[in-house]
Structures are given as structure tokens and as C-alpha cells.
């Protein structure tokens, strides 16, 4: 199996600093004056209930949503985030008229660049969908489709990866497998994972923030022991779940 060294080419993953993030949905402020640091080359998880503004925060960092006047998103190495961010959503959004390889290499196709087929095939192999390279999306299971979406994200070889509940539509076992796969393939990148699943955050996160309240704020981070992906039954994961659920519940009052 190819190592990450051959698949990830230019990985000088920077840290990201979000300061004074501000966003209102209509007249209702979702968050205001929110600060968040994503440490370089590590997984940061933001855990929160639906509608709290997690996705908006993530889209703001991705540059898909503009914040308030004082809002700033900076990379730790001083350069801009533009062109260095990959984005992955809850649904795979594969194009139904392209086969697996076509979808995996969609970025290059849309930009009119040469397609690196060797790299695509190596990544598909690493993601466990190498056999399905010529299949159409509607011939695949939900888990396989999301693997292809993960490969599409990795093909971009961006040092920063933002993921918006990418595994929440999958069944429990498939979800665990894809979490392991993501940790392996996204090693050394700066990752932000937004989720509403405490177990997922605890398995994957180097640092876990709970996002709560209205307007929403971030608590102090939880930093579980051990390297991701952690075992679902590890002591820190189990005790962490109790704490995270309590924090989530407190914010809901």
C-alpha cells in the first residue's frame, strides 16, 4: 500500500487562526466574536447540536461564507487560506454521470488541468475502492460513495481539510472504518471536523471543542490521551463521552 509520503506531496500544513468570527442568520446572531485556533497538522473537532452554527463556521474558514467586518481567517505561516483548503460535506455529491475515477479526478477536470490517473488509482486503492474504479456512483453503497468523495478531497492535496459531518449518513460499522481510513490518509494535515457525534469527536480529535449557546461560543478544549483513531471502548473515550454529553446538555438549557 502506498504510504502517505507518496500520496501527499506538498504537506506543509499550517495552523489556522480564526478571530472575531461573526455570522447572523437573518436577524439572529449564530455566533459573534468567536475565536478558534486549528493547530498545525492535527485534528480539531467542533462538536455541537444541529443549527448551532458549526457548518457556517466551517464554511467561513473555507472561504465560502463571508463573516463580519472584523472577522479574520489567517494561516499560521502568514499566507492566505485561498487554494489551500479542501472541503468535504455530509453527502458525497458524486456526479451521477461520471464513473468513480471521473469523480475522483473532478477537480482537475473542472479546472481544465491534466488528470493524474496514477495518483487517482493509488488513492482509490488506498481507500479500498480500487476495484470499483470504473463503476458508476449509483452502483455503489453509501460507504463506498463516501470513500470516493474522500479520494476526491485527497486528490486536491491541500494541507488543510475541512469536513462537515462527512460520516453521519453511514451505518455504525462503516462509519468506524471510514474514520480509521480518514485518519490514515489525512495524516499530517490540518483538519477541522464538524460533528454532532461525541464518539466520533473522541475517536478522531486531538482537540475537541463544544460549540453551544445562542449566540454560540466554544468551551475550553478537551484533549483525550492517545493517538487517533482511538478505540471506541478506550477509557478516555468513554469518560469523554460523558463529559461532552453533559456540556452539550448544559448549553441546551
Amino acid at each position: 500500500m502506498p504510504t502517505n509520503g507518496t500520496l501527499g506531496q506538498n504537506l506543509n500544513a499550517p495552523s489556522i487562526e480564526v478571530s472575531n468570527a461573526q455570522f447572523a442568520y437573518g436577524s439572529r446572531p449564530l455566533f459573534d466574536g468567536l475565536n478558534l485556533v486549528l493547530e498545525a497538522g492535527r485534528w480539531t473537532c467542533v462538536l455541537g447540536p444541529s443549527g448551532v452554527g458549526k457548518s457556517s463556521l466551517l464554511r467561513m474558514i473555507a472561504g465560502l461564507l463571508s463573516g463580519g467586518n472584523d472577522t479574520a481567517v489567517r494561516c499560521g505561516d502568514g499566507s492566505a487560506t485561498a487554494g489551500r483548503v479542501a472541503y468535504m460535506a455530509q453527502r458525497d455529491f458524486l456526479l451521477p454521470w461520471l464513473n468513480v475515477v471521473g469523480n475522483a479526478t473532478l477537480g482537475a477536470r473542472l479546472r481544465g488541468e491534466a488528470v493524474d490517473l496514477d495518483r487517482a488509482n493509488a488513492l482509490l486503492q488506498a481507500a479500498g475502492v480500487g476495484e470499483a474504479a470504473n463503476a458508476m456512483p449509483d452502483e455503489l453503497s453509501g460507504g463506498m460513495r463516501q470513500r470516493v468523495a474522500l479520494v476526491r478531497t485527497l486528490m486536491e492535496d491541500r494541507p488543510i481539510v475541512l469536513m462537515d459531518e462527512p460520516f453521519s449518513a453511514l451505518d455504525a460499522i462503516t462509519r468506524l472504518r471510514l474514520q480509521d481510513l480518514a485518519v490514515r490518509l489525512l495524516a499530517k494535515r490540518t483538519v477541522l471536523l464538524v460533528t454532532h457525534d461525541p464518539l466520533e469527536a473522541l475517536r478522531l480529535g486531538d482537540r475537541i471543542f463544544v460549540m453551544n449557546g445562542s449566540p454560540a461560543g466554544l468551551g475550553s478544549p478537551l484533549e483525550p490521551a492517545g493517538r487517533p483513531p482511538r478505540e471506541a471502548g478506550a477509557p478516555d473515550v468513554l469518560s469523554g463521552q460523558a463529559r461532552l454529553l453533559r456540556e452539550l446538555a448544559e448549553g441546551g438549557k
Binding site: 472541503y87 453527502r91 455529491f93 451521477p96 477537480g107 473542472l110 479546472r111
Partner: protein, 254 residues
């Protein structure tokens, strides 16, 4: 289903239909000036074969021209409505209202406005009756494109124009072809409305009208059958185009 069966099934259905029709006329002992039977159609076709060819061509090209116009108009207006909520809210009542008007009442208006322009008038009527489903399908297809699609594609470095051209438009193709199948048959109605209500000596509608004047019921029914056959033919042209351009949307038979 094998390809032999796929062809045989509709043909058997047609034969059964013709037999039932023949039987109905025979059992009621209807004379030819009340109701024609399938066995009268052959002689009628043969007797007027050159007229059928000539007028059938008139009707066909006018219908296709009207459809082309409807597609061009429907795609442009559907795009405007698909992207702008304001335009959607502004144009929907107008379109629905216009579509609700019986097109037979539009015939004299058009015929007076563009007096003597029979070809143009007929094409216009085919257009007017068939653009609505196309417009609605494009508008719905575009306005229901998930915003996350746009997010993902923007983050892949695609320009908005590329997203529109390579993603948004292809994604509306299944809806578009669904609407086109409806529009094809509607367009024939439009063409014949003009040819029958405002007779000008061209098209199958005119042949129908002359059948009526001379109480030649077999001829009238033969015209109807010819129209049905042309409608079916054009419908399958759309089906083939759909297979080529939107075959990916077809569910696997399992």
C-alpha cells in the same frame, strides 16, 4: 426483457386495440359516415397517399420548428427563473395564466396579427402550447440544485460559469427530457389547431378538414392515425436522445 420482446409487446397491444375497435364497429353495425373501422383506413391511406406525404411533411416540420422554439425559449426563461427567486415569483403567475388559456382561442388572434403567414402562425401555435413544461422543468431543475454541490465544486477550484455549464445544466437533463416528452405530443396539438381552425390548405389538419367537409370518415380517421404515428415517432426520437445525453439517470433494472 429481450429486445425482441421489447418490440413485440407494443405491437401486440396495437393489434389487440385495432381488433377491439373493428369488433365494436361491426357489432354495432355503424356505417362509414358514423364511425370508421381499422379496415377502412388502409384504402383511405392508399387513395390519398401523396397528400398524406405532402401534408404530413408540412405538419411534421412545423411541429419540430415549434418545438425548437419552445426549447430555446424554455431553456432561457427557465434559466432566468431557476437562478432568480424574484424572477421566479414574477413570471410563474404569468406563465401559468398563459398556459391556462385554451389555445383554440389564440388561433384567430395570431391569424389576424400575422395575416397570411401560415407557416409562421402554425409554428407559433406549436410553440405556445409546448413551452410551458420545458420552462418549468428547467427552472425547477436549477433551483433545486443543492447549495452544497456549489460549495464542493467551488472548493475544487471551479468557476461559477464552469459549475453552471458542466454541473447545473447536465443535472437538469433528466427533468428536461421528461418535460420534452410531454411537449412533443402537445406541439402536434398546437400545429393541428392552427391547421384545422384557421384552414389554409396545408398540413394534415387541412386534410382532416377536407375529410370533414366531404363526410369522408375513413379519411378523417386516417389523418388521426397518421398524427398518432408521427407523435409516437417523435416521442421515440426524444427517448433516444435521452438515452444518449441522460442515460446515467436511468435506474438499473434489478
Amino acid at each position: 426483457m429481450s429486445s425482441k420482446q421489447r418490440f413485440a409487446t407494443p405491437i401486440i397491444a396495437l393489434v389487440i386495440f385495432a381488433l377491439l375497435w373493428e369488433f365494436l364497429v361491426w357489432i354495432n353495425d355503424w356505417p362509414n359516415y358514423v364511425m370508421a373501422s381499422p379496415s377502412d383506413l388502409g384504402p383511405a391511406f392508399y387513395k390519398f397517399r401523396w397528400l398524406f406525404l405532402e401534408f404530413g411533411w408540412d405538419t411534421l416540420w412545423r411541429t419540430v420548428a415549434g418545438l425548437m422554439l419552445a426549447i430555446a425559449f424554455g431553456v432561457v426563461v427557465g434559466m432566468i427563473m431557476g437562478f432568480s427567486r424574484t424572477m421566479r415569483e414574477a413570471l410563474y403567475p404569468l406563465l401559468v395564466g398563459f398556459n391556462a388559456i385554451p389555445k383554440a382561442t389564440v388561433v384567430p388572434v395570431v391569424a389576424l396579427l400575422l395575416v397570411g403567414q401560415h407557416n409562421l402562425n402554425t409554428v407559433l401555435l406549436a410553440f405556445m402550447i409546448s413551452f410551458f413544461p420545458i420552462t418549468v422543468s428547467i427552472s425547477i431543475g436549477l433551483s433545486t440544485l443543492e447549495p452544497e454541490y456549489r460549495d464542493i465544486l467551488l472548493s475544487l477550484g471551479a468557476s461559477r460559469l464552469t459549475i453552471f455549464r458542466k454541473i447545473a445544466l447536465p443535472k437538469t437533463l433528466p427533468e428536461f427530457f421528461g418535460a420534452l416528452k410531454v411537449a412533443v405530443t402537445l406541439a402536434f396539438i398546437g400545429t393541428n389547431l392552427m391547421e384545422i381552425v384557421e384552414p389554409h390548405g396545408r398540413g394534415l389538419g387541412h386534410l382532416f378538414d377536407s375529410g370533414k367537409i366531404s363526410a369522408d370518415y375513413p379519411l378523417m380517421f386516417a389523418v388521426l392515425i397518421a398524427l398518432a404515428v408521427m407523435g409516437i415517432g417523435l416521442y421515440y426520437v426524444v427517448v433516444i436522445l435521452e438515452k444518449i445525453f441522460a442515460g446515467w439517470a436511468e435506474r438499473q433494472e434489478s
